[in-house]
Subunit: 199 residues, 2 copies
């Protein structure tokens, strides 16, 4: 069974997959333990409740998303090229996820946000902070783009960054609803419109 | 207890409210029957399963949404003014919903879409058709706007209509996540950007 810390990691990973596949309420602790190959007794040694596990899962989703975002958004190239790569990477992630006939799962954070925001304040706050971070990451790139003269002074950076995340989440909803990642292909063009540029 | 058809209506209404408040899996048949003041035996007389009830609830959500949309989108005034009223009405609906300290519940269809799309094909298809209808409604107004010279010939009507619904769903997610309808106030301005107009 390996070290306890490895078992805890396996529980977070298994729950992250299962919540992403089917949501929070549709998945039980027994099923999570089964996929993680961990005894139920160990589960409650690591987590006081499924809700506390969900907090750890959200933290893990955010770390992964932040790493992926930082790699693209803080990488080389002009700010708007990096932003476009960010959308492309997101599209490719959904394509990769459903390779081999698996379902398009959409955004793990967006899914949980709509399922849990009215149900638990602690989870809602954790998810809200996650989206605030994503908006802040995009704001940073848009400020760079403005300094580089790529977007006009009339663009409201905060509203534009929120609109980009909203577009992203909306298109991820479409992709999940169609079980097809294709809707995400049009994101970069619409994003340019939001920034006052021709598509 | 009234006529059976009234009891069936009460079940659909109660389930519509409860699913909107807390989602599909978090709500049980007993709770739905309790709010509808209907015996559990009657429930299974009307609906073979909770999943079949969900189909009826989605149909009802769509009828309500279509009526509200038609009233604004096919009403008087220039096409883009009607589109702006559509966003304003949507904002006001969320404000109204959470009057008196209730939670911001977001979009009933978007919530179910993210919770259920990977779980049940019949529900996914019903929800997909609903969103397709909304996109088609907005496409119709955008075509009018183009004929009236309000938006340019370079705007891809289909992509723009999808982007508007995506923006809407994304901002509804933010509103639910913040338990505050305020994020929806900025929708009309971003929508103008998407249509190649100044905000």
């Amino acid at each position: 069974m390996g070290r306890p810390s490895e078992a805890r990691e396996r529980v977070i990973e298994a729950a992250g997959e299962l919540f992403h596949e089917r949501g929070y309420h549709a998945v039980g602790v027994s099923e999570i333990c089964g996929r993680a190959e961990v005894q139920k007794g160990s589960f409650y040694h690591f987590f006081a409740s499924k809700q506390k596990l969900a907090l750890a899962v959200i933290e893990r989703y955010l770390e992964t998303a932040e790493e992926a975002a930082a790699e693209v958004l803080a990488g080389d190239g002009a700010p708007l090229d990096r932003l476009e790569r960010y959308f492309t990477a997101l599209h490719e992630r959904q394509v990769g996820q459903c390779a081999g006939g698996a379902r398009v799962l959409g955004c793990p954070l967006g899914n949980l946000a709509l399922e849990l925001a009215t149900w638990d304040e602690e989870l809602r706050e954790a998810l809200r902070r996650g989206f605030d971070r994503q908006v802040a990451d995009l704001e940073a790139v848009l400020r760079e783009a403005r300094r580089a003269g790529e977007i006009g002074a009339d663009v409201d950076i905060g509203a534009a960054a929120r609109a980009l995340v909203a577009l992203l989440e909306g298109h991820l909803l479409f992709a999940k609803l169609r079980n097809d990642a294709a809707p995400l292909a049009g994101l970069a063009a619409v994003a340019r419109r939001v920034l006052g540029l021709s598509a």
